[in-house]
Symmetry: C2
Subunit: 373 residues, 2 copies
């Protein structure tokens, strides 16, 4: 008897499943992991491609297995197949991720031993191999080139005396236009972007606002680019905040505070450090400078998100660098992205990616920059 | 006491959640629907943006609710919040989708009345309003422009006498190059693509193969484009199969068979028709022409996928036009995409989007074409 890990998901959406088979499919399919062996059960639509192009140890055809499972006394076809596989591979119990589909779980739990193991699924990808680090580095290099490309456009743009909008090649430079330029740039170099952020002024006060409308002089412009490499699937992630024109004293103070905090955070990263302490450090740092989290007129301002998130086949993965406790270990890879957000002033965020080494960390994204253009 | 629908997901990945609030977020958040009222519970990171930009009736701050829920005797914070909301809104039971996260379900089911309703969540978006149809039409128009753009590139490309590759602007035209051109084209017009298919020759025998390497003369080239409009979130979807050069008799037979089948399918679409019968029709049609589903040397060939899938905020949504039974009703929107795939010959697929009307259907994507270039 053996234990099996079980996933039922689309590998486009579930990096753990993609990690098992390096096979991308838009519709859900079934996969098992028994010791080091991985088994996929896919439809006729995906069968040929999966057999030829995936790294699954074994690829089974859904309709074949369903036929073999005809004796299983359960209505749901997916359950039929799982029960059949249990018998065929002599599986004693199934271990599933927390986000396994609840209805399938509800049917299965009455028929087979099944248990959750969030830690396994959260952490199976946490230590990056040398080749994974290389992929993330490649993605980060692309990200930094894309940021430099955006910077060039901002630098070349100018203002009209009559209004505060930026103009590039005689046309108003909007968030949409700059985003589309950045995303095309990445596409041509094999990186696929979704939701690239180019937000200006008050829009930048919302960290995940993509940004719309004209970019303005003398205001913060936050550019956050996170392309996914095709076909490896690894992400890069980088944010830079620019300002075209003249920065006020308040803007300078805000920017320098975030920049200094990020530098301090990176200096503190090494094995044994608790991510919670990094979060606490950033909170205290901003608090001391008068920029702590607060709610003004029903809106949150100050330092309103966590310090960072794991990066790899997932854009937001383990470890999260927030209020939860995680002890850093070598080859963990995550973003360091403190930011400050104020309704009136906009936002500043600076984000880089680090790999924990045996003694500290190394930056996987590198893009020194002047923020005032 | 009231009943509530409950979702815990990322609205980037769960169209039902996006449908409730028209708010896109990469990380999971909690949302309820009580009669026509929708309530979201989000983190400080998303709170401002969600309050300003979403259509949720009410937006609550996760940390505020958690504080109010301090008395709830359960460890999991998300459960705490749900129990608190149950009390605050006097909720008698929660109804969840099949793919609700299993672990959260397992904790909740011991504390509150909770049930599944796949039909509600599958079908809540099935009848498209006039404005939704307009959005899908816009996305389909973009798709058809992108296909015409790709066709122009193919048409302008030429072959070298020494090898069968296509050349465009003196450089080999690869799947990657044409895909990137198509995706940039869509991006500039507000459509976001992922996984656009440009597959040639034997690669086209796998319907979901994205395609790599040089495109070849005298071979099928399948182009499948499915951009998502930003910010509305609606998809277009269209496939055309081209051939640059001279088609063999077998290639012509295959193409004309798929084309005729698609025409027949579209002619059969009207309210009251069972999608299963459309699937059966296509299967019989291909079978009679000698192109039925078969397994050759362990690989599936012939008609290896379903006739189509619903289209809207999701790329693959309800209704599926396959082996399951669904009675068509006015304002359902789905793709009609028969295809034939043979290992040696490659593949042919032709795909358009239709809206069921009171008497038949109307094409939302329109792109008449010559397939031999």
């Amino acid at each position: 008897m053996v234990e099996a890990y079980l996933i039922y998901a689309s590998s486009d959406r579930e990096p753990n499943l993609f990690y098992w088979g390096h096979f991308r499919a838009p519709d859900p399919f079934l996969a098992l992991k028994i010791n080091e062996k991985t088994i996929a059960v896919v439809s006729t639509l995906e069968y040929g491609r999966c057999k030829k192009g995936s790294t699954f140890s074994e690829v089974l055809l859904w309709s074949d297995v369903l036929q073999a499972a005809v004796d299983q006394a359960v209505e749901n076809n997916c359950c039929k197949i799982i029960l059949h596989l249990q018998k065929a591979y002599q599986i004693s119990s199934f271990t599933i991720p927390d986000d396994f589909p609840a209805h399938l779980y509800e049917t299965l739990r009455k028929l087979v031993p099944i248990k959750f193991d969030a830690v396994y699924f959260q952490t199976q990808r946490q230590f990056k191999s040398a080749s994974e680090v290389e992929q993330i580095k490649t993605a980060c290099q692309l990200t930094s080139q894309a940021i430099l490309y955006a910077r060039t456009i901002l630098k070349k743009s100018c203002t009209d005396t009559s209004q505060p909008f930026l103009y590039y090649r005689r046309k108003v430079l909007t968030s949409e236009r700059l985003r589309s330029a950045i995303e095309c740039y990445c596409l041509k170099k094999g990186g696929h972007c979704a939701g690239t952020i180019v937000s200006c002024s008050q829009q930048a006060a919302d960290p995940h606002c993509e940004g719309t409308g004209p970019l303005r002089a003398n205001e913060f412009i936050v550019i956050d680019v996170f392309p996914q490499l095709n076909p490896s699937g690894y992400y890069g992630d980088m944010t830079r905040t620019f300002l075209k024109g003249v920065a006020s004293l308040r803007q300078k103070r805000l920017f320098l505070c975030v920049q200094a905090c990020q530098k301090e955070l990176i200096r503190r990263i090494r094995p044994g450090v608790n991510t919670k302490d990094l979060m606490q450090f950033a909170q205290n740092y901003f608090e001391q400078k008068g920029f702590g989290l607060r709610k003004t007129k029903g809106i949150c301002e100050g330092f309103i998100h966590s310090v960072g998130h794991g990066l790899g086949l997932g854009l937001h993965e383990y470890p999260s660098v927030g209020i939860n406790s995680v002890l850093l270990e070598p080859n963990m890879v995550f973003t360091v992205e403190p930011g400050l957000y104020f309704h009136e002033l906009g936002g500043v965020r600076i984000e880089d990616v680090v790999q924990v080494t045996s003694t500290g960390c190394q930056l996987l994204s590198r893009c020194p920059y002047q923020w005032i253009l």
